[in-house]
Symmetry: C2
Subunit: 374 residues, 2 copies
């Protein structure tokens, strides 16, 4: 069998596979090679000492030393790819397994030099989708912080006063931006960073990724979707709740009950070996049965038109998906369960919890209750 | 001339080129095509309506509608690449210009279908390195927030009490973590998010990217490097200051003066048309003249072993660089000027400001003073 190395060239700050493989954070691209279990990093002068003390690599080589050695032998200045070629030639490796998002410019340059590159479909590291007990604990910790932030937001909404259909706090209109700030400060206090937090009320909430803005209204649903990353562990959590300050309309109450029932369908059927698409379709069918249609109406998508869930870990969206794609779930995976219903005449409803897939079923990691009317 | 389209497939949340081209944030990958000035997006059901209202694209197409149309004609379910092929065939486009980090798996699939892909070296959008007045204002605003956070940190350090060589606040040891929290909360209050903030004292500060941890010591340098992103505008700032609570050693004072002088060399020589490598080398030479050698000593890099500066914009590190590479500066670029000196026997010193390159020279965007001893 021909020798193959795994190769990643990326900034681990933005590449979860590279962080997973090295447990080392750097803002600029560096080279990761794995050959027969040995992990080797090629690092710049700026990062070489830190990589030696902080990374999980077996060997950390200095690109400036490799380049100096190369110049002595070949009388020319090497490119980064030249250094990689030089290093791999010594090891007699011509076959490289790379992630599906490996950069085309590096790929073209390596292929021109005679290397055989095989992009591996995601997940690049199979093990990354299956969480260790320590990883599950890290995810749960981030989730606890997220629930605390959501609770803080709910308390402020619950305590707001209603005047002419709008929410007020300390005499001023209470806005999406106010609630997002409460959530972000609460998370930062707990060592977590959130961006693009959704606090969307009324028509804003009918678009599942609209972040929401402006004054919050009474008697209309407020969709909150919070997905921070722990600064220390780098593991995410993902949580959605929908609340109404005041009275929910009868349709909204039915939507809330349906979405909750959709979650329960997933909780009952998620287990090791289950096909995500079956779970997703069962929820779609149940919504149809309850009279909640999906499709384009009045020129916009309405109903339930996103996936049921996705893996959460070092990335906020990672394999597996619980959606039309036929991903088979494995014990140890942590996935969201987040059905939703969105109608122009009632607003949006989304409820999202995280579950750990087990041999027999799943364990819901959330503790925060689901309360519609505050 | 053959028709060429620009193609990006990425999540704009993590891809600054795609955000720059669309001004639209999405957490999952989508397709961007630009042909003869027209910008077209292919979006999932989840994002299609939001993209229509929020993005700067000329046309937003629904992948599910395109797929339904495809299935009718060809009796099979298309992949994302199949949809792109179908769309480009109609336009008679076979040539695609892609970013250098375009994913290899998509590239291989497109090439197999007969497309000619040319990765364009960075910057993919030349204009992105040259900031408009509105972009400069956004960068300055983030910088003002960063300076406010740094000032808050300095105040706490200045007010700390010294006992047996360590800093104390309210009777407890003052730590790197405490100062980072102050900085992060101050930034969050101002709508900015920072990660990997550096507050590194003593030996930690000798490694330029060590984030620092544990109790802060008196009479030793504390390197602070703060680089947040504005949540609203997405433009970054990058700021470093070095302070001592108590008395700086004579060597440290000389290092501080040398690094400041290094900055002044850059401020005097940065202008439209200047070669970044010349500026970087002039600073290296001056440090040598002043007796500050660079290289491996005691098995670790010491002296000045990182670049002098880098562009700042929608990414914290973007072209151009002021370093060994021969980047030619252009009016309108915003770059950092951040020489540093690092020695085991004295600690680290780094001072970093941001400047706007102009026709005649440069304008320093910072207002925060540089004070060594607090």
């Amino acid at each position: 069998m021909k020798k193959t190395a795994a190769l990643i060239i990326a900034a681990s700050e933005r590449d979860a596979n590279l962080y997973y493989a090295t447990r080392f954070i750097a803002p600029d691209p560096f080279v990761f090679l794995q050959m027969g279990g040995e992990k080797v990093l090629l690092m710049s002068d700026l990062e070489v000492d830190r990589a030696r003390s902080q990374s999980s690599a077996d060997r950390v080589l200095s690109t400036s030393k490799l380049a100096a050695d190369y110049r002595k032998r070949k009388k020319e200045r090497p490119s980064l790819i030249g250094l990689i070629e030089d290093f791999l030639k010594l090891k007699r490796i011509r076959n490289l397994r790379v992630p599906s998002d490996f950069p085309i410019a590096y790929a073209d340059s390596l292929r021109k030099r005679g290397f055989h590159l095989t992009p591996k479909p995601d997940p690049f590291f199979e093990k990354r989708t299956v969480k260790s007990p320590a990883e599950v604990r890290a995810l749960e910790t981030t989730l606890r912080h997220t629930e605390a932030a959501c609770r803080a937001a709910c308390e402020i909404i619950a305590r707001s006063t209603i005047r002419r259909g709008k929410l007020y706090r300390r005499g001023k209109p209470l806005t999406s931006e106010d609630i997002k700030k409460v959530i972000h400060l609460s998370l930062m206090e707990r060592g977590c960073v959130a961006q693009h937090t959704i606090v969307a009320s009324g028509i804003d909430g009918v678009d599942p990724h609209n972040e929401g803005s402006g004054p919050l209204k009474a008697n209309e649903p407020i969709v909150m979707d919070i997905f921070p990353q722990s600064i220390r562990t780098r593991y995410y959590a993902d949580l959605s709740r929908t609340v109404v300050r005041g009275k929910a309309s009868p349709k909204l109450k039915r939507m809330f009950a349906a979405v909750w029932e959709g979650q329960e369908i997933a909780f009952r059927t998620i287990r090791h070996g289950a096909d995500g698409s079956r779970i997703h379709e069962a929820i779609q069918r149940r919504f149809e049965q309850l009279g909640f249609k999906t499709g384009e109406m009045n020129g916009r998508m309405q109903g339930f038109f996103h996936g049921t869930g996705h893996g959460v870990g070092l990335e906020i969206h990672e394999p597996p998906r619980i959606s039309a794609g036929k991903d088979i779930l494995k014990a140890g995976q942590v996935v969201t369960v987040e059905p939703g219903l969105y109608y122009e005449d009632a607003g949006g409803v989304r409820l999202e919890d995280m579950v750990l897939v087990t041999r027999q079923g799943c364990r819901v990691l959330n503790r925060l209750p689901k309360i519609l009317e505050l």
